[in-house]
Every structure is written in structure tokens, then in C-alpha cells.
Symmetry: C2
Subunit: 112 residues, 2 copies
DNA sequence: ATATATACATAATTTTCTTATGTATAACTT
DNA sequence: AAGTTATACATAAGAAAATTATGTATATAT
């Protein structure tokens, strides 16, 4: 597991992107998907995930739909119309950030 | 100015990388260099910078050398031997992080 | 004379996480 | 049958790293 600290600030964007790619997902599913996608490099804890989902919902970016599967509760989240728009801009910001950081940490990068 | 929030957690690595590329720099110089390098996308505030420099120094990654230029104080920071080693591993972690995030937010990326 | 730039610093607050804890059901193991 | 792990939600306490606000002081530009 790499430096989790670096992921600080990017959780909302990750959630939004996954929902843009999969239409609807529930919390636990998101944690498992991220673990799988990142080959275990990023583990989203419940203490980070659930508050983040609640916040995105409160901001009107996500809609929630409760389901019962195998006698267990699931909360499916999906992007609202506004959430879809916001995802586009969050992804653009993320790409700017990644490009900028790439430039800075590039081994060929020099200050001269 | 992009989403400053995304840079949370990467300030130490940025400082270390700049010092690896320039041998010694003082605080204000770092803020200006970063602004220039990122074309204004990232503005490092003093409230973030100075505590970060003090912390890196306390951890033994930086040495400080005080100078007086034009009757004004400057504190030049440079990597210690340990700081140079640590920079290598911090940059490796940063590259892992950037690669992983790139995978997740890549527009060609799909969950199927 | 006044504002901006250079150069440091810290305190209060906010944001976002980690760690710890709690509830509950299902499935697997011994 | 009993205990552990997996599934599925949630929140509270605390830590980490920033922002915002404030402070000191000198130099330069208007």
C-alpha cells in the first residue's frame, strides 16, 4: 500500500468518476472496486467513504435509492444531472493537477 | 487557479523535489518558483509553507542556513543526506499515486 | 506618501482523513 | 454448534495538513 496521504482530497472525484462509469453503485461495492482497480494500493475506509457519500448527496450531486438484497441493506448511489456536470469539471481539475504534478516530479525536469 | 484541494498532501514532496533540483532555496523563492512552474495553478501560502519547512527540518531531511541579503533575512534550505534518500522514496510514491489516479480518471477507462 | 514586493512567522479554524467503535446479517470454518 | 470472516451500513474522537488571518520588518515602485 503506497502513501495514502497523497490521495487526500481526491476521494470525491474518485467516487464521481466511478459512478459516471457504472451508473449506480453502493458504498461497499465502491470500496471493493477501488481496491481491485488500484491493485490494493488504495483502500478506502468506511470512515472516509460514508461521510463523503453523504456530503455529495447533500450537495445534490448524488441520488440515493435503498434496496434490500439477501436480507441486507444496500444504498445505491447515482449521479444527479448536476452531479454529471460537476463530474466533468472535477475530472478536468484532476487532469490539470496530474499534469502539473507530473511536470514537477518528472526525473527529466530541471529548474534551469 | 485549479483545485488547490487536490494538492493537499503533496507539498512536502514538491519542496523536496525542488531542493533536489536546485541544491538550496529559501522559502519565498520556493513559493515564486512553484507559481511560475505551475503557471499560477498552484499558489503555496506562507501558512502552509513555513510549517512544512520547519517540519522537514525537524525530521532531519533539511538543513537550514541563515543569510542576510539586502538587509533582509533569508533562510536557505538544503537536503541532508537523509533528505536525499527520503526524496527518492517520496518521488517513487508520488509516481505510483499519479499512475494510479491517471488510470482511474482516464476518459478511456471503463469498469467493464 | 503610499502601495506593493520581499521575507519571515504563528494562531485560529476548516477540511479531510484515520482509527475506533457500533449494529446487523450471511457465509464459511472448525 | 461456535467462532471467524465477509458483507453493509453508520458515527465519534482524534490527527494531519491545509486556509485564512494576523503580525513584524525592510526594499522598491508609484
Amino acid at each position: 500500500m503506497g502513501n495514502q496521504k497523497l490521495y487526500k482530497g481526491s476521494l470525491q472525484t474518485i467516487i464521481l468518476k466511478l459512478l459516471a462509469a457504472t451508473d449506480k453503485m453502493y458504498g461497499y461495492e465502491i470500496t471493493q472496486k477501488v481496491k481491485e482497480l488500484t491493485k490494493g494500493e488504495l483502500t478506502i475506509t468506511e470512515g472516509a467513504l460514508y461521510p463523503a457519500l453523504h456530503k455529495l448527496e447533500a450537495e445534490g450531486l448524488l441520488d440515493v435509492e435503498v434496496a434490500k438484497v439477501d436480507n441486507r441493506l444496500r444504498k445505491y448511489y447515482k449521479l444527479t444531472e448536476n452531479g454529471t456536470k460537476e463530474t466533468v469539471s472535477r475530472l478536468a481539475e484532476m487532469e490539470d493537477f496530474l499534469r502539473t504534478m507530473q511536470t514537477i516530479v518528472n526525473p527529466n525536469f530541471s529548474l534551469e
